[in-house]
């Protein structure tokens, strides 16, 4: 596999965001779908397990950065790396807890554990009144005060877009390195036959957990970049939103689960489809999204890139 085209696509979009800052919001929206599909893909594509709870990781990542900006303003610009680390750390912790418990079990049980994850964390934050509870975190005035007006706006526009694209890029690299090494063979064996893999001396839980935590950490980074930095606010009803789960599944399956080019292609098409639906059928975006996922599962389960890859060796090498 030669991941130069997908990596190049992210770098090109990043250059575009810096060169044309007035379009950085649109670039960030497209990039969000790509990176979302890409991060989801690391777990779902590599293990063929389904995670219905990853909006929880987006949310917890957003809260990490949001809390750092709001509660540690004395740190100045250092709030960003510290907040991102906090968000990713919390996402990793959550993934380790849920994964260590539920990944010992097979697919059905794991799906059940994750489907409650998003709701569970949302109810904890609202119920225990953590980090603003149901009212959420408003970061705008704090960001203006800490970073100054110009830098804050630059971070919210160009910075957010670049960080989202960076998340997509790291996801491609993560997928590449996981697959290139020992873990890649182990995960391939687990996908084909988990029992046989166990007999061969592979510890399935360990490798599933590796993919799960990697995916969660990158989702956390994405959530921080998109919600806290880009929108300057974190609302529980907004970040723990079931639609992001469907968005991620739509992008990933449209492009092709398990491929690294798939989420880029899927993200572009999906953004285009949503944009058109927004103009011609406003209010029906979620309906169309769920319809897309449903129809893709029924009629194109390997996705666009996945289906093309089966046709030719060259495509498989250059559009992995």
């Amino acid at each position: 596999m030669r991941p130069y085209i997908p990596l190049g696509a992210y770098l090109a979009l990043m250059a575009l965001a810096f060169a044309l800052p007035e379009y950085s919001k649109q670039i960030a929206s497209i990039a969000f779908y790509m990176a979302l599909g890409q991060a989801v893909n690391i777990f779902v594509g590599l293990t063929r397990y389904v995670n219905f709870g990853y909006a929880a990781f987006l949310g917890i990542g957003a809260y990490g950065l949001g809390a750092a900006i709001l509660y540690m303003p004395q740190l100045g610009i250092a709030t960003i790396p510290i907040g991102l680390a906090l968000g990713m750390g919390l996402a990793a912790l959550l993934a380790l807890t849920v994964g260590a418990i539920a990944l010992r079990l097979r697919g059905a049980y794991f799906a059940i554990a994750t489907i409650g994850l998003n709701e569970g964390i949302k109810h904890l934050i609202i119920g225990a009144n953590i980090w603003g509870g149901g009212a959420g975190l408003m970061l705008g005035s704090s960001m203006f005060k800490v970073y100054g007006r110009d830098l804050a706006l630059f971070l919210a526009n160009v910075g957010s877009a670049a960080l989202i694209l960076l998340t997509g890029l790291i996801s491609v690299l993560a997928m590449y390195f996981i697959q290139a090494g020992r873990a890649g063979y182990a995960l391939a064996a687990i996908r084909q036959d988990e029992d046989a893999a166990k007999v061969m001396g592979i510890n399935p839980t360990r490798y599933k957990l590796l993919a799960f935590v990697t995916s969660a950490v990158l989702s956390g980074l994405l959530g921080a970049a998109f919600f806290s930095l880009g929108n300057m606010q974190v609302f529980p009803e907004n970040v723990f939103f079931i639609d992001y789960i469907l968005d991620g599944l739509a992008v990933m399956f449209l492009g092709g689960a398990g491929t690294v080019t798939g989420p880029i292609v899927g993200g572009l098409i999906y953004y285009g489809a949503r944009y058109l639906v927004g103009i011609y059928l406003p209010g029906l975006q979620s309906l169309i999204t769920s319809l897309i996922v449903f129809l893709v599962m029924l009629f194109l389960p390997n996705g666009i890139v996945g289906t093309l890859n089966r046709r030719s060796e060259g495509l498989r090498t250059w559009l992995p």
């Binding site: 063929r48 219905f52 059905a108 489907i115 409650g116 149901g134 469907l246 029924l298």
Partner: protein, 291 residues
Amino acid sequence: MDVIPYFLSGLILGSIYGLTTLGLSLIFGVLRVVNVAHGSFVMLGAYAAYFAFILWAWPPFATALLAFAIGALLGYLVYIGVIKPLNKAGELNVLVALFALGALIAEIARLLWGPDFVGYRWNIGSVEVAGLQIDISKLAGAVLALAIALSLDLLLRRTYFGRSIRAVVQDPVGAMVVGINVDRVFAASAAIGIAITTVGGVFLTLFIPVGINPYMGGPYTLIGFVIAVLGGLGSLLGAYTAGLLLGVIESLGFYAFSVAGFAEPSEMALFLEFALLLLVLLFKPTGLFKL
């Protein structure tokens, strides 16, 4: 003691939870498929109860029959259209398709009936039990839910149809060899499972006078899964018993969280249920009961 009323009302709500989860457990037990669209079928049942009451003044228990028919038809379609064609492709595909279907049903409901919370009140008096005023409608719902759970169990134990279902559960290939139409058993189980889920949604409206909404399914999906796992995935009476248990835990949890001074005790009760799910998966993933 003011704990007793919470215990009682938890038990009554728990009976409805148990009923709602029977369908989930039946489908998993027979088809080995987790119905992640569960909540949306609960929602459809709730809307059926609401419209039948508002438009035709039907009491919810009459609507339950209609909801059973609608649910059975939908369940059959779900089997023919989603589960059967996708089962060969693997668990991931079935789960994702069902998840998308659940979201699709919720979106269609919003398109047809709007995003607002609606509800109705069916008042047929109340009785006093241990110092607690209990609506007769709720009490009757709880008793009827128990009756449905017991008759479903009887159906599985005592009839030819029930025996063929159990045979398929034990060994699908063996069942086929002795002349059981496995495909028909699968279709019937999906139909009955989703029919009961929909009926559960009808009964649930007795407890949520203003809580009917296209997106109401989410928490009930979570609750359904907690109960199903507690009771042992696939066990019917286990699911019903776990439903009672969860109703009590939810109610007492709500009481404890409000005494402890949490601003949103009902949200905390839902978190408690999620934490409970993880604990059960950690210590006893096969469920608490052997029923």
